[in-house]
Every structure is written in C-alpha cells, then in structure tokens.
Symmetry: C2
C-alpha cells in the first residue's frame, strides 16, 4: 500500500492527478492493477483513504478517553494520538498530498467535504459523551481549526517539530485569540 501510494503521488506531481491512470500507478509501483484494486477503490482513494482511517482513529480515541476532560482538550488529545499513529512518520507524503489537492479544484472540494464529515463525526462522538448538539459541533469545529492550523505549519519546509507539539501550539493560539475577544457590542450597535 505504501509503494502504491508513493508511486501515485510521484505521478500526480509529475503529470497531474487527472492525467494519471491506475495502470500507470501500478506499473510504477511494480505491482499489478489487481493489487491496486485490492487496496483502493480508485485513484482518488489513494488521496482520501487515509482520511477515513484517521477519522475512525479519532472517534475511537474520543470514545475511550476520560469523561472528565474538557471537550476541546479531549478532541485535541485524540488528534494528537491519531497524528502520532498515522501522520508523524509521513510528513513528506502528507505535504505532497496537500500540494496535489491544492492544484485541483475538484479535489479541493472533496477535501472540504471530507473535513466537514470529520467535523460531524467528532461532534457525534462528543454528543455521545453527553454534550448538547450545539456545543458538540462548535467544539468539533474548533478542534478541526486547531488540526488545520497545526498541519499547515507542520508541512512548511522550515518546520521540524512534531505534529503533536504543533497541535498544542495551535490550541494555545486559538485560546489566546478567543480570550482577547470581548462581546460588548450587542447593546451599542454601530450605525
């Protein structure tokens, strides 16, 4: 699976996602198309299959973690555990994946939709822990914001810190941004 993924990512980068066929990917990996289809439904799955696994991992962590944790802490902790397990060793692959997606509007839309699905899955897990639906969704969305911020930094050329640490950093940044805000404008709207 790693060989197929590496071959696919090379070809996507060389000649674009759309022009690359499953036959070419299999050939480059030195494997048969049958082997390809044992692992992936189609070439898009090479890009998005990992996301489904990541989602299952996070939900599993959320269900398992201590019920006394504040919700956003629980989400970031789950993201850290899933990142350790799935992303930390694959910085170059994840970075290349983002570049491929950024070059193709159709893939970008699918990525946005996948992120929305992950947000919903996290929110569902939080509701399962007794959170009201609105707080669950807001917490899940805040967690996704932390995730996106951390991954964006993690895939910068000059960045060498582990994703776990950048997740903590991003949570800290979000907390700082939110804490500085005040909400005193209801009584005195601008005109």
């Amino acid at each position: 699976m790693g060989r197929l993924q590496a071959a696919a990512f090379e070809l996507f980068a060389e000649q674009g996602f759309e022009r690359t066929t499953v036959a070419e990917i299999s050939r480059r990996a030195g494997l048969t198309q049958r082997t390809f289809f044992n692992h992936f439904a189609d070439k898009r799955e090479v890009l998005f299959g990992l996301g489904s696994e990541f989602q299952r991992e996070i939900v599993r962590e959320l269900v398992a973690c201590a019920g006394t944790l504040p919700p956003l802490d629980a989400v970031v902790r789950a993201l850290q555990a899933a990142s350790d397990a799935m992303f930390e060793e694959r910085r170059a692959v994840v970075k290349r994946r983002y570049e491929i997606i950024a070059a193709n509007p159709e893939l970008q839309e699918r990525e946005l939709r996948k992120q929305a699905e992950l947000t919903d899955a996290i929110a569902a897990a939080l509701r399962g822990r007794g959170l009201d639906p609105e707080t669950a969704l807001l917490t899940a969305s805040a967690g996704m914001l932390v995730q996106q911020t951390a991954v964006r930094r993690w895939t910068q050329p000059a960045e060498s810190r582990p994703l776990r640490e950048l997740l903590s950093d991003a949570l800290h940044s979000l907390r700082t941004i939110a804490a500085h805000a005040t909400d005193q404008w209801v009584a005195s709207p601008e005109t």
Copy 2:
C-alpha cells in the same frame, strides 16, 4: 432583484434547484429573462450573489474599524454590522437558502468553497492591519465559526433573537470552550 430571488427560492423549494430554469423564475416573478440577466449571471448566482456582497461589506468594515480592537473582536464586529445591513430583515429567505443548498451536494460544495473564500478575504484584511499570516488565518477561521454557529441558531424555527445577539452568544461560547482547554499533553503522550 428581491422579486426574482423570491420567485427563484419558491421554485427551488417546489421542484428542486436543478429542474428550475431561468425562464420559469422570470415568469414567476412577472419579469423578462433579460431583466433576470441584468441582475444575475445564472440561477446559481441567485443563491450565492448575496455572499459576495456580504464579503465586500465585511472587508469594508474591517478596514474601517479602530486598529486598537483585538482581532477576533474586530471580525465579529464586522460580521455584526454586515448582518444588520444584509441579513437581519431576511431571516426567512436565508433559512430557505440553507434548505435548498442542503438538498444539493453540488451546491453544498460551492457553499463550502465560498466560505473558504470569505475566510481568506477576512484573513487578508487582517494581514492588512499588521497581523502575521498565521494569526490572521486562525482569527478569520474562528470568526467564520462564530458566524456559522450564529446563523445556524438564527434560522431555527423557535429562534427570534437578532443575528447580532446570536453572534455575540456564539463568540462567548467559543471563548468558553477554548478557555477550558489545557495543553499539557506534549510532555506525556499517550501510548
């Protein structure tokens, strides 16, 4: 423009977005197709045109507001001003718009993309005020989260409070969620 929009939304709700033509919309509004095309490039624009105007309004507010405001405050304040100007009187229309989009995956993807564009526009305005790119993007994204949370509540059947107030509420909720979090897990990863 309001008549065309009302007619379009009725037809989208009655027979679906895809099956509705510009000819039907114009006829229902009692206007010519030429008038339709004076206001909208196509039928999708009836759904998304308001978003472009909303974006311009927010960016204008952000550029104009006092430089001493904390950034997320500035964003929420701009959202409140733009909401007062554009959304407050149109709760039913905005609500129907969401229902139409929710029923069509292609429109959902376009909506996600529009939201990403708005986030980028807000981030650019914040960078223009001297914020570093990373804080600007995180602040813009947090602002969008506040916006989405507030609009979702505002379009609930039982909800009668103005959007301005719900924006304040959502900001408060985000602050509470973020404040409860702690980031002590870097040093002691789960295994």
